[in-house]
Symmetry: C2
Subunit: 433 residues, 2 copies
């Protein structure tokens, strides 16, 4: 086999990790020695870097790598959306397969990118885009393909899981913990994408497409972040036997008349029973539970981020490409390639059905619990537990956990409860599994 | 793409599961519809079966399927070793790829089988041979190939894990629990391969070859089963903060002068701290921890056996073959194919180094603990804890947990302790992680 020649575009954390693996003295499969870096495109060639590079690898213009007939595979690790998208599409049109760690681009422009790859008979591989070093994209494309996937639930963002673990273990405040996470390098300078749940939504969008086979409208995924989580909610949840984690949830619903598969997808901070395997996933680790027929339930667990794990996924994708590299378009591996095989649509927010946690601050007068219970009952919302957890200065805090109920019914009840004269404030609302 | 035509040899639990998936009304990837069963070879065509079959699929002679030019892939699910080996080798020589769930054959004759497959330019895929429905073979072949694998520890036999879980939760006796497991179908009529650890050794042998790249001499894997585990040991372990599980362990040691990688491999019942993720793996579930550079630690968890999960792995292998099927020998996918890329050897029993648990029955006289401690010290065995746990009728039970120590030093100490006049019996010995 001839060598596999790659062009790397971007040389940040992941790019450097890829370079280190390819130059490493680790005891690895000999096939890795067949991967040759033709060039690395960076913004500023002369910038000081904490890594020693072989001569003349750095270049300024990414498009030179794309146009280089010597290059077989483009590794896109610059991040961002606009330029990255352009680089990916132009690479595919130049009949070069692409390996990317860019969840934002794939979640938003997957449709266009996958179909362009198919058109030009090349691949777009994305193992590094979701859950760092955990093999999840490949199993969804291949090993699990003999199953009907029914449901995926996961902790797939390391930053928020680090923050929530720290808040839980040390009773620390959200803002302080976020600052610490930034200091330790576990959260970015602008943490919006992580803490508001957008990064998690990008990832569950990608996994959903692979699992259920249809394009997903990324923007219609109901997404809540962890910014509003109060240390009080964590304490109450712990008391009641739960941990709070930011979860991504995606479930097949039913196929409608137009043969489009309806999907129940959401991202939200969630109470998880302490007996549930996901409740033990701490720090920057990720885990994803997959429920499938006839397989049953499996869990994949591991480091969700970091230079080493993410780069390991990039390099395994390069190896995959190298192993199945073929110039013959008609024989492209259809599982490795991935393309949509059906239509999907996300169900409306009001139709999403789940368990809920509600913390209500109200006056400490007899009968409040009864009134709240009545209002839920009237709206057909069944309650799992309702507990008065704290009372001081004539005020009481009531925590309600419902059974599974549609968002529509739950939101209606919430509005009516808010109107009760005894209720001062609905202090917080979380999901439960 | 033309259809993928398969011949199934054997129609027990797994074979029927494969048939059910291929005929299922589940909402699965359309590529599954391209798999066509040409025939199913069984011993007795007229036997009554709990499954309705399409006409004329059953045949008597497996070799007819192997010789049939219409058949692309042979699915070997008869089990056993001799006939199965012959069927696999003859299929490869007929240039047919093979999918097998047969861990015993692959663990014993992998060398011969892999090299025969390479010679004829076809594949032998074995996802179903280890850990039922958990994707573990594919990740080791592909997604993790960018890493140096350092260590694998796993619970990879469902039968023994079911028995140990039951013994732990219900304080039940070993023999009774085994009978129950047989009644429930979780243990075979002849449970030897499972309870004596041979099945676990077969599986860790296969995983080791894939992870470290060299052929392993299956017969030199130090193997202990669960037959001698006493309910008392489970109780004591629990008291001290451990669960007892049958573990498979495989670790890279070092490369010796002759460039052969030395491996530390064993199968043994083992005390696992309750905080360890493997301690939570109960019932017929399996899980495997893989420690790799630069990846870090991942865990794959799921159903380790059963018709559905195992058949799902068989079918995913068929899909894999179908997706990369090529008559061109020179372009065979080297990752999917797998072949050895180095030499390995298993270190000698006396060199294996691990923590140990020892339960000693002795006379309840002052100074015994001191004498035992001295003997260990003299032999350079460092002790983590030594506890007197039960005393009655002038007898005492002493439990010792050592730090990591070579089997050689430990066995020498054991002999000397056994010679102490106060020591009546070394009642049991287990490993620890």
């Amino acid at each position: 086999m001839r060598k596999c020649k790659i062009g790397i575009i971007g040389f940040g954390t992941v790019g450097k990790g890829v370079y280190r693996i390819l130059k490493s003295k680790n005891d690895i499969h000999p096939i890795l020695k067949d991967i040759e870096i033709v060039g690395i495109a960076v913004k500023n060639i002369n910038k000081k870097r904490d890594i020693e590079l072989e001569n003349n690898l750095l270049i300024n213009d990414p498009y030179k790598l794309i146009d280089d007939p010597n290059v077989d595979v483009i590794v896109e690790v610059i991040g961002g959306t606009d330029i990255a998208k352009d680089i990916i599409l132009k690479s595919l049109r130049a009949r070069k397969s692409v390996v990317t760690a860019n969840k934002a681009v794939i979640a938003r422009y997957g449709s266009e990118i996958y179909s362009e790859a198919a058109k030009y008979g090349v691949f777009v591989l994305t193992e590094a885009a979701v859950c760092g070093g955990i093999p999840i994209i490949e199993p969804l494309k291949r090993s699990l393909k003999s199953n009907q996937i029914n449901k995926m639930v996961g902790i797939i963002n390391g930053t928020t899981n680090f923050i929530l673990t720290k808040m839980t273990n040390e009773k620390a405040d959200y803002k302080e913990t976020l600052k610490l996470a930034q200091k330790l390098g576990f959260a970015e300078f602008d943490p919006t994408a992580d803490v508001e749940g957008h990064d998690t939504a990008d990832k569950i969008s990608i996994l959903t497409e692979l699992a259920f086979g249809g394009a997903v409208n990324r923007d219609s995924i109901t997404t809540e972040g962890i910014e509003k989580i109060n240390i009080k909610d964590i304490e109450y949840a712990n008391k009641l036997g739960f941990e709070i984690k930011l979860l991504a949830f995606s479930e097949r619903n039913h196929v409608n008349k137009e043969e489009s598969l309806s999907l129940n997808i959401w991202v939200a901070p969630c109470l998880i029973p302490k007996s549930h395997p996901l409740s033990k996933v701490d720090g920057v680790n990720n885990a994803i539970l997959i429920e499938a027929s006839p397989l049953g339930e499996i869990m994949l667990y591991g480091p969700g981020a970091g230079s080493g794990p993410t780069a390991a996924s990039v390099v395994s994708d390069i190896l995959n490409l190298y192993a199945s590299l073929s110039k013959n378009i008609s024989s492209i591996d259809p599982l490795l390639a991935f393309n949509y095989w059906r239509d999907c649509h996300i169900i409306d927010f009001n139709q999403i059905s789940k368990k809920n946690y509600l913390r209500i601050i109200c006056s400490d007068t007899p009968g409040v619990i009864g009134k709240i219970g009545d209002l839920f009952g009237k709206n057909d919302v069944s309650i799992e537990s309702i507990v008065q957890l704290d009372a001081s200065k004539n005020k009481a805090e009531i925590v309600v956990i419902t059974h599974e109920v549609s968002n529509g019914k739950f939101e209606k009840s919430k509005k009516e409860i808010n109107r009760l004269s005894e209720v001062e404030l609905i202090a917080s609302q979380l999901s439960c599994i």
